[in-house]
């Protein structure tokens, strides 16, 4: 299988070997992954709750200006450290169903965020203060929270397999 051939190639690299045999590097990468997730989910959850209808008095414009950059930094950190964790034992992860589920949920969550951010209606955030929540945004907020919780749960469960 192509995927397993690629995984075998990655596992044979010096980087993979270094990660596997390291005393400090692997735990540090792991820590970076947790910090990335904390920044991402910590920023996206209040934003989603605001979209769903909580804290209507707080301007969405202000929230998104601070929380979106934090979420992006968190995502970049989580994905880059996650790639290193994957590179440690790619042969194990490509055959792990939970890993496939996690990647699918991750793609869906990122796509959901991009679609919302790039939608023409997003311009309305500036006038949305105090306005009743839009149904589409409510749904996007709920979908986002559920998907990110799914990504985190699947990721954590992989560690217990």
């Amino acid at each position: 299988m192509l995927l397993e051939t690629l995984a075998a190639g990655l596992q044979a690299t010096e980087l993979s070997h270094t990660l596997r045999s390291s005393i400090w590097l692997y735990p540090l990468v792991n820590t970076g992954h947790v910090i990335g997730i904390a920044l991402l989910f910590g920023a996206i959850a209040p934003l989603d709750l605001r979209l769903i209808g909580c804290w209507k008095g707080v301007p969405l414009d202000h929230l998104s200006r601070t929380l979106i950059p934090v979420a992006i930094v968190g995502l970049v950190l989580a994905v880059s450290t996650g790639s290193l964790l994957f590179a440690t034992r790619p042969l194990d992860y490509v055959v792990e169903p939970l890993f496939g589920i996690k990647m699918t949920l991750l793609c869906a969550a990122v796509l959901n965020a991009l679609l919302l951010r790039l939608s023409p209606q997003w311009r309305w955030v500036r006038v949305a203060t105090g306005a009743p929540p839009r149904l589409a945004w409510r749904i996007a907020g709920i979908v986002s929270i559920v998907l990110w919780l799914g990504v985190i749960t699947a990721g954590r469960l992989i560690g217990y397999r």
């Binding site: 769903i52 209808g53 709920i142 560690g159 217990y160």
Partner: protein, 130 residues
């Protein structure tokens, strides 16, 4: 701008709390972490290494114990190093004894090693445990 929780948020929080409890409750059923999945009593296994998968995040030996293959969990690199175990000592064909705990489910041939004995020499992975 009311500081009280909206019913919707309340429902969401309840949902998240229930999910968290369900996940937390299912955790101990998995191997690798801690001893909750294993028997309380100490036991021993003696066999020959069939395969070794060492390094992060988990070290695992496949041990042939009188014809049956057991998965024996050993330490991560830092724990093996502290115990004096080197990767070169845990290769195919090496005969060893491990002491530790069997999986609580007798059908699962999984063993958590606390100590490894090779040629009568003891390597203690968990010096603080019985």
């Amino acid at each position: 701008m009311s500081p009280t929780r909206t019913p919707l948020m309340h429902r969401l929080l309840q949902l998240v709390a229930c999910a968290a409890i369900a996940i937390a409750a299912s955790m101990p059923a998995f191997a690798h972490h801690g001893w909750t999945w294993a028997e309380d009593v100490n036991s021993e296994l003696t066999g020959v290494i069939v395969a070794a998968k060492l390094g992060n995040p988990h070290g695992e030996l496949t041990l042939d114990v009188s014809g049956a293959n057991w998965i024996v969990e050993v330490g991560q690199p830092w724990r093996n190093e502290r115990a004096g175990l080197k990767d070169e000592m845990l290769v195919k064909g090496v005969k060893l004894t491990v002491s530790g705990h069997r999986h609580a489910d007798p059908k699962k041939k999984v063993f958590k090693a606390e100590r490894v004995f090779i040629d009568g020499k003891k390597f203690d992975l968990y010096p603080d445990r019985d």
